[in-house]
């Protein structure tokens, strides 16, 4: 197996120390940072697929994320510019005002990312106005609102309202998800669709943007 393939394997199999060792070995052997990141991307595809199939769960996603950020630390100094990768489209996402649950949202971000979307994550407890400003700047085709608390239903509604007031509502599709979100909540908030899990988010984005 080439160094790169070994690295892909180590990441996908959650062998943290081995992955870091191989990253260093690749860099030392003169591989470009692009090649290393390519391996990471390939491994993440595998992790994403295994998550979709119900083989991997949260511990694996967190471990994969952890390995990745350690790899990035090693490669960063060598990186002149961010790799230009062609993406299908842009998705803006965040957990709405008053809510700080982000485990579900982070999985959605991860899955959108491995499925080739450019994702901007605004984090948690995001006020409506911040969504509005980010829509203006980032120009996403899709906005994803995450929320687990019942108070999030109102925040979602207000966020969608704020997009309307700013005249941006018809430029984006809005999907919502998290916890008790269902069709009732979708109707209440005025979102275009709701999704039960990260795959639903990916499918909605694909349906709306293509890719």
């Amino acid at each position: 197996m080439s160094l790169k393939n070994s690295l892909v394997h180590a990441i996908a199999e959650m062998q943290e120390e081995e992955a870091i060792r191989l990253t260093r070995a690749m860099v030392d052997s003169g591989a470009s940072p692009m090649e290393v990141l390519d391996a990471a991307r390939e491994a993440m595809d595998i992790v994403g697929q295994r998550y979709e199939k119900g083989i991997y769960f949260l511990p694996e996603l967190m471990m994969a994320g952890e390995i990745l950020s350690q790899m990035a630390e090693i490669v960063k100094p060598l990186l002149a510019q961010a790799p230009a990768v062609k993406k299908h489209g842009r998705v803006l996402i965040g957990t709405v005002a008053g809510d700080i649950h982000d485990i579900g949202k982070n999985i959605v971000v991860f899955m959108l990312d491995v499925n080739g979307f450019e994702v901007m994550d605004l984090g948690v407890d995001v006020p409506p106005q911040k969504f509005v400003e980010a829509v203006k700047e980032f120009k996403p085709q899709v906005v994803g609102l995450s929320g687990f608390l019942t108070l999030a239903f109102d925040s979602m509604k207000e966020t969608i309202k704020a997009l309307e007031v700013a005249g941006l509502r018809n430029q984006v599709k809005v999907m919502i998800g998290g916890g008790s979100v269902d069709e009732h909540v979708r109707a209440y908030t005025g979102a275009d669709a709701w999704g039960r899990d990260a795959m639903a988010a990916v499918n909605l984005a694909k349906q709306w943007i293509g890719g």
Binding site: E16, G54, I55, Y56, M62, M63, L151, F153, D182, V185
Partner: protein, 448 residues
């Protein structure tokens, strides 16, 4: 010599104490009867019998404050207002059992310098939320990854001297607490008391005692409210104590979600050793509370073993064995574990059902688990309920609520061993939907 009491007898004794009207006051003999009938109803369900009607509970959080028009901050700082809000809620809705609310002693948390949560109106600037927000836990690594050995060697020592000083800033001095074994020789005692006299240790004890006193002020009001609900309306309390799954003790507020999940890969043996060491503590916590309140139900909210959180294999390895041991320990002591199964448990039902827990000794409240599957796997050995969605309380119509409750009772509630409950804590709701929920319960929940 007296014959040993069995766990069955211990449980019966706790049920009897809960059911007893002795030392409790009621406005009339009829109300006392109503009280006893309601306790009996839940007892029947636990023991897999068919009661007169489906017991119906309401898990309410912020809704009580919202409904009464007071803020979440007032719920934690203005006890008289909070008491009136709770009484008004029960008077207007007439639930069968006392419903929980976010009524808690804010001043005691302030005095402890409690930084594990943020809450409305906190006097600690970093912890303060606007009065309109409910309290919330702050997730972080309160135990470091390199502290497993310390936790495993002596969990209570670690808790008192490392964990508590971190999450209760005013108890920071406990870091310096000398060992209490020094009491074993008289000449050692001056040293022991001397070290305890260091200003930070003294301040910590002072803060602790003041928090105890502040909590007692709250306890007096909360006791009075509960007694009034019992006396006026015959509403029994729903919960006698709390505990947690050992994995959640570790994963929620010691290592945090991310921490514990990485540890499952980095140091699985330590995770396993830690949850084992925490098991007797989980049992003791629940039993102590149940004995003190003379009420058999010990609520255990389940967090990080749900579908999606980990694989079935990991559930069987990391989560279930020590939770099961906790349940068995509680049952052994006569308590009835009341599991609040948050999220989905569709991938766990068979594992739990086949693990040989004794029949008629546990209660299972489900959130987003398929209730038909629950009935199939649990119906023969454990009572269950839950599942009425928060979204329906908030964004549904009374008609939709009625239909949901009817369908639920018709599909899984026909043979007894079933209680009605929301699947989550209801924080926000339309009053007409809460009413529709309770009315539907009475309309469709009476067994012919």
């Amino acid at each position: 010599m007296q014959a040993q009491t069995t766990s069955e007898q211990k449980m019966e004794a706790l049920f009897a104490a809960w059911m007893s009207t002795e030392g409790k006051s009621f406005v009339s003999p009829e109300v006392a009867q109503t009280y006893q009938r309601r306790v009996q109803r839940f007892k029947d369900v636990v023991q897999l019998k068919k009661p007169d009607q489906v017991p119906t509970i309401l898990l309410t959080g912020g809704f009580v404050a919202d409904y009464a028009g007071i803020s979440h901050g007032e719920m934690m700082y203005d006890y008289e207002k909070a008491a009136r809000a709770i009484l008004k809620f029960h008077e207007d809705f007439q639930p069968d059992y006392q419903a929980a609310s976010n009524f808690l002693p804010g001043p005691a948390f302030d005095r402890l310098g409690y930084v594990l949560y943020r809450w409305p109106g906190s006097k600690i600037p970093s912890q303060s939320l606007p009065p309109t927000m409910p309290f919330q836990m702050v997730e972080a690594e309160y135990m470091r990854a390199d502290e497993y050995d310390q936790l495993i060697a002596d969990p209570e020592y670690f808790c008192l001297r490392v964990y508590v000083p971190r999450i209760c800033k005013a108890l920071g001095g406990w870091q310096l607490l000398p060992t209490f074994f020094a009491t074993m020789e008289m000449p050692f005692i001056p040293f022991w008391l001397g070290v305890s006299g260091a200003p930070p240790v003294m301040e910590a004890f002072q803060a602790f005692l003041e928090a105890v006193r502040l909590n007692a002020e709250y306890g007096a009001v909360s006791g009075r409210v509960s007694a009034e609900l019992m006396s006026k309306y015959g509403m029994p309390g729903t919960i006698g104590g709390f505990s947690k799954a050992p994995f959640d003790i570790l994963g929620d507020t010691l290592r945090g979600t991310r921490g514990v999940m990485l540890d499952m890969y980095r140091c699985p043996d330590k995770v396993l050793a830690a949850v084992e060491r925490l098991t007797p503590i989980a049992i003791q916590m629940g039993l102590q509370a149940a004995m003190m309140s003379q009420h058999p139900f010990v609520l255990i909210p389940l967090h990080k073993g749900a579908d999606g959180f980990m694989s079935r294999e990991d559930f069987k390895k990391f989560y279930w064995p020590t939770l099961k041991a906790t349940l068995l320990g509680l049952i052994e002591g006569g308590a009835v574990p009341f599991l609040f199964v948050e999220g989905g448990y569709n991938e766990r039902l068979d594992i739990i059902a086949e693990s040989g827990l004794p029949a008629g000794r546990t209660i299972w409240l489900f959130d987003r688990t398929d209730m038909k599957a629950v009935k199939k796997f649990f119906g023969s050995w454990a009572c269950f309920g839950g599942n009425v969605p928060a979204s329906l309380f908030y964004a549904g119509t009374p008609q939709e609520m009625e239909t949901y409750v009817r369908d639920l009772i018709e599909t899984v509630g026909q043979d007894g061993g079933f209680f009605l409950s929301p699947g989550v804590v209801v924080d926000q709701a339309r009053p007409e939907n809460v009413r529709a929920y309770l009315e539907a319960a009475r309309k469709y929940g009476v067994y012919g």
